[in-house]
Symmetry: D2
Subunit: 140 residues, 4 copies
């Protein structure tokens, strides 16, 4: 672990000010699983009261990125190169949370898996796998 | 073609009011390719002036959905079941646009391919394939 | 559970005779996880002694299909609609095995996740998510 | 273009002897699109006379790899890191062919798109996007 939960929270707030309206909060970070929660607001809802796909993808991308930084530290300017997401079930109106774990942390690529949960729904509402390219600077 | 460009524009505005801040506009719809543009604002930018991945995924999902409705009409409550996106190049600060085409329109599944372009960048900045499940109602 | 391990083994042998040269064997099926193993032979190797990607994809597709049949029974003519696989680590020369679990079993779609292991390598060598379309017959 | 069609054909034959039974043949290579064909035999068929998914994935992986080598030359030991494939339509019993193009050739990653065709079927039967990691040796 290169960054603690408090350090990641501070980093998220200072480096991604445009994310503040989403009120993301890191709920767990133990060096293996990072859990990031997002309250559901009017803005995230689709007609019929469904959480929008883009809201879920934003949460997934952010959770995976926090996991990666937690493991390699804040120096790296890693970029998402691939995101694959399967939407499994209709989320409820409660908070959404993502639990991310590392599938492989290589020198140039990191592959992360995560499940998305909706408060009040037992099984995951979405499942995603993301790949990040890690720039050479990290490797020196 | 079941909906015209004007009908899709009106539908997007009335059914997705929470998308209005994104100022999406349909630039082309000829029955085969739908092109949807999104102006880049402060809110879509990441540190370092890069358009955020979630902004691109939002545009991709919306463009694909508009293409699908253009072909099957507004009755269907289709839902995204899978999105796969590869981020290819760093977008510039100009408008982003997505050009979506149908790979397969089946009875229960629609598979759509799209390329994302950034004004001022010649080659596509991202490429995505999306799957939508079409509810049985459509099939009657 | 609609089919037992023995029933699945018999089904695989009788319905997929062209798979016999692969000597696939179901090692576990408890109603939740299905584990399918494949011995590595000359035919599956790439130059340099690496198991080929197609061999791993064949195993993944077959394991996921067996899991699906185990849960819905042999009547369905389900077809793969999407396969996404990330290759994580170089496999060794030992047997390959896939552990498949159901992410979502819906009326028309089944989404399955699996990890591929190589005997002698601790962590998974590949991770895959597959989607199958289930024909209407199943739903009656 | 770093390798010609004849050079790629010779490379495929000498470096991948285990592929010989598939009788793959490069039909086109113009520096932008590589088309690889595979005759359909008993071995590739599923019950009911459908070409198997693994046969299509093998063809996809091989076509993408030939395209990559055509562009960067035979020195690189590139490895597939991700394959995503959507199966669109039932193939016929005629030859299968893959038409591959480069989406992005970067220093460490190459992203390739391809469509699979079945002789006698007008529209593509599958669509795939593959990512290859290019080892540092290539970059010196």
């Amino acid at each position: 672990m290169k960054m603690t939960q408090a350090e990641l929270t501070a980093f998220l707030d200072s480096e991604f000010p445009q994310m503040r309206p989403l009120k993301l909060r890191i709920e767990q970070w133990d060096g293996a699983t990072l859990r990031l929660a997002m309250p559901i607001t009017e803005q995230n809802l689709r007609p019929g009261g469904t959480v929008s796909g883009p809201a879920m993808m934003t949460l997934a991308d952010c959770a995976a990125y926090m996991l990666l930084l937690g493991l390699i530290g804040p120096v790296a300017l890693a970029v998402t190169t691939n995101l694959n997401i399967n939407f499994l079930r209709k989320p409820g109106l409660g908070d959404l949370s993502a639990a991310a774990t590392m599938l492989k942390l290589g020198k140039t690529l990191a592959i992360i898996e995560l499940s998305l949960y909706s408060a009040g729904v037992d099984e995951p509402v979405a499942h995603s796998v993301l790949t990040y390219a890690i720039p050479p600077a990290r490797r020196t």
